[in-house]
Symmetry: C2
Subunit: 205 residues, 2 copies
């Protein structure tokens, strides 16, 4: 898309500059992946000077996180939740995730995010890149696991499924469960996904 | 909606009779719940003779299952999967669910179902009624649990989340995991959700 030059009519400070950069970034990440995308190419596609991408979004990493369109920075949130004793990891992640969803200021944005991911292949593509990029190094920083990738995927599947069931479908009694009880239910399951015995190496049970 | 009389122009055997009954049934179940809906009222809203509802769909139970719009009868599928030794329940459910999704003839319909539930409140309302109605008695037939309702909800959350992550988002490596390995990963988690220690009664870990 977009020509190589700067759009002649777009003023650097105009309100849609930020939006134009984000839209160009989403298309670029979805089409060419994280490694195949440069902030310079995003600037060109958005018709702005490369310096403006840095001005509005910082590094390419930051631009990617902005393109995810989450109402929080997953690097900060997970970076705070994951470190600690391995046996408490499932509970820390459950507490963090339930806390995000129970924050009413964030919930509408999270619901919009979820619906977009379900219906928009470009948004799904960015999430597909983002979950391993953010989650896997953080999990490996707690416990070095050969199968960290599939474990992060599985934890994500339980987290997304909880959100769909409790907040989108409103299935009862899950939808009315007090947050601390929801954490109690999710903690052992997230622990199993993230650090439990791998299939084939399990001893009993 | 719809008046109390029969639509004068609709012929009993016309191709849209079945569809008109189903649409009326979905509206009625979503608006008034299962108990508040009669097949007679559905017939009236669809503008057909009450006998036609029975002719096309059987009992009110059958009509409700048809309104769920799943490419299988959840009563038959779960009725076959749930009975058996409690310690193998998680694996039986995982095997059944993964088998349904891995059947390519069904997958497109299941994806359409999932997207509809995410975006259409009426469809969400019917699922909200259907999961407890179908799942809870079946789980109680395996093990009589006081908290069977929330356990069925939680198992459903993992199943829906797996579907979203593997088949909608296509998150790797989960999306490419061989089905038998996916079953191995889901079995212990579904076992915990369905029959694991309740929070507060757990002994250790």
């Amino acid at each position: 898309m977009g020509g190589p030059g700067r759009g002649p009519g777009r003023r650097p400070g105009s309100p849609d500059t930020r939006g134009a950069i984000l839209a160009a970034a989403r298309s670029a990440f979805a089409a060419r992946g994280f490694d195949g995308t440069s902030t310079r190419a995003v600037a060109a596609a958005a018709g702005v000077a490369p310096g403006l991408v840095h001005h509005f979004f910082g590094t390419k990493d930051d631009l990617f996180v902005a393109a995810l369109n989450l109402p929080f920075d997953p690097r900060k949130v997970l970076g705070a939740a994951l470190p600690g004793p391995p046996e408490g990891l499932g509970r820390r992640v459950a507490t963090t995730v339930v806390g995000l969803w129970e924050d009413e200021a964030r919930r509408e944005q999270l619901l919009a995010f979820l619906r977009t991911v379900m219906t928009n292949p470009e948004a799904a593509g960015i999430v597909r890149m983002g979950i391993p990029a953010v989650g896997v190094p953080l999990l490996r920083s707690v416990v070095p696991l050969a199968d960290a990738e599939v474990r992060v995927n599985l934890a994500m599947s339980q987290i997304l499924g909880m959100a769909v069931t409790r907040y989108v479908i409103g299935l009862e009694p899950l939808a009315s469960l007090p947050p601390e009880q929801l954490v109690d239910r999710l903690a052992p399951v997230l622990q199993q996904h993230l650090l439990g015995p791998s299939p084939g190496t399990a001893s009993g049970g």
